[in-house]
């Protein structure tokens, strides 16, 4: 890149791409330490049981075994993002099949796995609660006897198997009386597995003082530190957490997996211990997308104007709360979609069941509520004989409109998103589309969405080294989505230096500023803001030096492309960053370091407009918008749906790196297509029936349309870095809804449950 080219907006290759295409990138399983042992876990065979006793003698007799740990070896410390309800390893009880009950460290992976299987655990079985309805039955077995006393971030009265409740209401329910058309339905969505190609893993190494260095696959090195600290009762400062390259996350690496167990094994043996989950364990014990049960009702005037909506959610959180209270609250918060309603009420109940924990997964509840809400808008349009996108345009949030509950919406490019997908897809001529072959039905349909980017705390440190090159340290984990590149571009742009002059430090809890995590589509937006602010600090210091060096007022100075600072209007009066930094290091003032930290502070709810109970995110984020059109075909022989083409538009504020933005939209589309058409974790009684990639199928190249057209819309966010907002999740939200809308047009049948398998579609076609 030339010195004068702009860094922001450039479709640059990934900063770390070379090591990735050469196979040199090191993921957690690629790390080896001298004297390293291998860990393995034993999973519970029961969904719900009391642990009576352990016998570890056979396991300890396996050659090469150094430690066998059970719940008895762990103190009574609990962790949890919203509710502190989870031990590092099962203690006293097991609450889902596969829950780790024992852990082994041994010389080889094979010995560790063999020994883990030889740990004998005596259980007293308890009734397994396998659905949220069963959890709410009056005589249901109680999964967490002590739920009332657990520490909670917010407490809405947890009793029996109810973990939390949330409700949000705005407007006057009398609005229902004005509706000319009301549609109502019950909807159900299925659990989806993340299937990050890299299974979860950790490597913990203790030093002589008992301090532990912990590498792990994660989305937040600081959440790792917090969770290990809480669940093992260790001071945070006793842990140094690091992140190698991460083989994708999508939410499943945001909160803990087996990091606490790896640390405990390392402390017990005094040796480095690497514990990498098998694919089966990754399915069975990490986390998955929540299955939703929804009741949704939407009303409109006969001209299509949306008026009122009520959403009621029953959420299965699985055995531990994890991020479930957040998912419930967020899904309700997003349940109107990007539309004006005169009355909006959303409420939900989160319950414990004896399944693995359900937690964060790209979209964070939004795809599930959108599946219902966006279908109801199409239903209304169909009843009224209106163009479904025209109905959306009529009631869409416009610039200046606030979100449900009263949150300020800074920028809003929804109108352009809709206009662009319409133009690109040939929306006006959609009725003329012909099937590609006899025996197939074809249809085009749309859906719209919004998503936040934001939440919580973040920081950035920009350091100028002696030679004037820059090291940026944010603590943000790049899980493959490209934030390292985007943040580097932001920093380079802010300081007007070539991108090659900026390098990003790897996340390290010892040296990086706090970053809540790579989640909530937040890194580009929140961390980018901190980078810009920290770079501004550096700029101020550069100018201070330069003003002394050039004997002028700092206010008369400007940064010039290529790492120079000079006097405005005087081209030959300038000094280089090298000269400035050398002076700072060796003569005046000390090294140039700029830093910034922030927490997202704008309120989610205006108490004068709305009543919120148990809303988990009081300060949530900036809003991005999106529109999607899909063109599908249905095989009339089998009912199988094929997506032929898709147009996904997203208002990202400003595309820091358009290539990476497109990558997010394309990847999110295919992941959403898997959710829409096929993917489902299936339980056979208490046991997951398909915890392998043989049985749980994700789309391949041949199942994914090549024609996924990404459309970037830029409505600059006032406080975003160069106007940017997030893009990580928005592309997945309405994929199931848009596909279901197309199926409804093709077949004249509505689908209230996911996935739209050939079976579900053919049965609907045949009325069977």
């Amino acid at each position: 890149m030339s010195a004068t080219a702009k860094a922001v907006g450039a479709a640059l290759p990934r900063a770390e791409v070379r090591e990735k295409v050469e196979g040199r990138a090191q993921y957690i399983a690629d790390l080896y330490r001298p004297g390293m042992l291998h860990g393995a876990v034993l999973g519970s065979p029961h969904a719900h049981a009391r642990i009576k006793r352990y016998d570890t003698s056979e396991a300890l007799a396996v050659p090469g075994v150094h430690a066998v740990l059970t719940g008895d070896d762990f103190g009574d410390h609990r962790m949890g993002a919203f509710v502190k309800d989870e031990h590092a390893i099962a203690k006293g009880k097991v609450r889902y099949v596969g829950e780790p009950v024992a852990a082994v460290a041994a010389e080889t992976e094979a010995a560790a796995k063999l020994a883990a299987r030889l740990v004998s655990v005596e259980y007293e079985e308890l009734p397994a609660i396998l659905s949220p309805e069963a959890a709410l039955a009056p005589d249901a077995a109680i999964i967490h006897e002590d739920v009332a006393s657990y520490f909670k971030v917010f407490d809405t009265g947890s009793t029996a198997n109810v973990c939390s409740r949330t409700s949000l209401t705005e407007g006057d329910a009398a609005a229902w009386d004005r509706c000319d058309v009301i549609v109502e339905g019950r909807f159900a969505t299925q659990p989806q597995a993340h299937v990050s190609l890299e299974p979860c893993g950790a490597l913990a190494e203790p030093d002589a003082t008992g301090r532990v260095t912990l590498w792990s696959a994660n989305q937040s090195v600081f959440r790792v530190q917090a969770n290990v600290s809480e669940s093992l009762g260790l001071p945070m400062a006793q842990l140094r957490c690091l992140t190698p390259r991460v083989g994708a996350g999508f939410g499943n690496k945001m909160e803990p997996h087996i990091q606490p167990i790896a640390v405990k094994l390392a402390l017990a043996t005094g040796r480095p211990v690497k514990l990498i989950l098998t694919r089966e364990e990754d399915f069975e014990i990490v986390r998955a997308r929540h299955p939703f049960k929804l009741r949704v009702r939407t009303g409109a005037l006969k001209d299509g104007t949306l008026v009122a909506r009520e959403v009621e959610v029953l959420l299965d959180g699985g055995a531990y709360a994890d991020d479930s209270p957040g998912v419930l609250g967020y899904s309700l918060f997003m349940s109107p979609g990007p539309y004006r309603f005169r009355y909006m009420k959303a409420s939900g109940t989160l319950v414990y069941t004896n399944k693995l924990r359900f937690g964060a997964f790209r979209g964070f509840g939004n795809p599930q509520v959108s599946f219902a809400g966006e279908q109801q808008i199409d239903e209304i349009a169909a009843r009224l004989g209106l163009d479904p996108l025209a109905v959306r345009e009529k009631s869409m949030l416009r610039p200046g409109d606030k979100w449900f509950g009263g949150a300020e919406v800074g920028s809003n490019g929804l109108e352009e998103c809709i206009a662009r997908v319409k133009a690109a897809s040939g929306w006006a001529k959609r009725a003329e589309l012909e099937p590609s072959a006899p025996g197939r039905k074809r249809a085009m349909a749309a859906a719209c969405t919004a998503h936040i980017s934001g939440l919580l705390a973040t920081g950035a440190i920009v350091r100028m080294l002696e030679d004037g090159s820059i090291v940026l340290n944010t603590g943000a984990v790049d899980i493959g989505q490209g934030s390292d590149t985007a943040l580097t571009q932001i920093c380079a742009e802010a300081l007007k230096v070539p991108i090659e002059r900026v390098r990003l430090a790897s996340p390290d809890t010892d040296g990086s500023p706090y970053n809540w995590g790579t989640t909530a589509s937040r890194v580009t937006y929140t961390t980018g803001r901190a980078v810009v602010a920290a770079a501004l600090e550096v700029e101020k210091q550069i100018k201070q030096h330069a003003s002394e060096m050039l004997e002028c007022d700092a206010a008369d100075l400007e940064l010039r492309p290529g790492g120079r600072v000079g006097i405005v209007g005087v081209p030959d009066k300038a000094v280089s960053f090298f000269e400035v930094s050398a002076r700072a290091h060796w003569a005046r003032g000390g090294p140039i370091i700029g830093h910034n930290s922030l927490v997202f502070e704008k309120p989610s709810v205006d108490p004068k407009r709305a009543i919120a109970v148990g809303l988990p995110f009081p300060q949530i984020g900036a809003f991005a918008f999106g529109a999607l059109v899909v063109d599908i075909e249905i095989d009339e022989t089998t009912g199988k749906i094929e997506v032929k083409r898709a147009w996904s538009a997203a208002d990202v504020g400003r595309a820091i790196n358009p290539l990476a933005v497109e990558g997010q939209l394309e990847g999110a589309f295919v992941q959403g297509m898997g959710l829409a058409l096929n993917e489902e974790m299936v339980w056979d009684g208490p046991r997951l029936a398909n915890p392998t990639l043989m049985d749980y199928k994700v789309p391949t190249t041949l199942d994914s349309p090549h024609e996924i057209h990404s459309i970037i819309v830029e409505a600059p966010e006032p406080d975003g870095p160069f106007g940017a907002k997030g893009v990580g999740e928005i592309g997945i939200n309405v994929v199931p809804a848009a596909i279901a809308n197309a199926a409804a047009i093709a077949l004249g049948k509505r689908f209230n449950a996911l996935p739209l398998t050939p079976e579900r579609v053919l049965r609907a076609m045949l009325g069977k």
């Binding site: 990735k20 080896y32 890299e198 394309e666």
Partner: protein, 154 residues
């Protein structure tokens, strides 16, 4: 027990038991970690390597059964001109996100181009259908292979 395996053009002595796979030996003994363990069931494709010139799953290949075979991993293709074009195209088109699938995808793509220098889009899609990617939605991967093929033309 000691086995002599031909890996990236060199004979390497490794220790292997009956159930040890080529993947385990490559990674844990030779520290050739480009091939990844994504599923250990032959489904995901992250462990794809060339065995006697054909892309195969290292996780489904018993090390003991690989004696006498010529094994090539991504590490062994660093000086290969076709691989260099693929690597360049993958970087330039944004075909790499998390990168965990990338080594396996590159090995499959390399094999595809070695017997079909000018593949159509549908041939690329078919040729890569044994390599799962959860990040990209595949479009940019397919485009990158097409770009590398174009680049190879005189």
């Amino acid at each position: 027990m000691t086995l002599a395996l031909s890996i990236n053009g060199r004979i390497r002595q490794v220790q292997a038991g009956l159930s040890d796979t080529l993947l385990t030996v490559l990674r844990d003994q030779l520290l050739l970690t480009a091939a990844k363990r994504g599923c250990n069931q032959g489904v995901c494709g992250a462990c794809t390597v060339l065995i006697d010139g054909r892309p195969q799953r290292a996780c489904l290949s018993l090390a003991a059964n690989c004696e006498g075979a010529a094994i090539t991993t991504l590490e062994g293709l660093q000086r290969d001109a076709s691989m260099a074009r693929l690597q360049k195209a993958f970087a330039a088109t944004g075909a790499v996100q998390c990168g965990f699938c990338t080594p396996g995808v590159l090995v499959s793509a390399h094999a595809l181009l070695s017997h079909n220098a000018d593949p159509r889009t549908d041939e690329i899609r078919a040729g890569l259908s044994g390599n799962l990617c959860r990040c990209s939605g595949y479009r940019k991967i397919v485009d990158a292979v097409a770009e590398a093929a174009k680049e190879a033309k005189p």
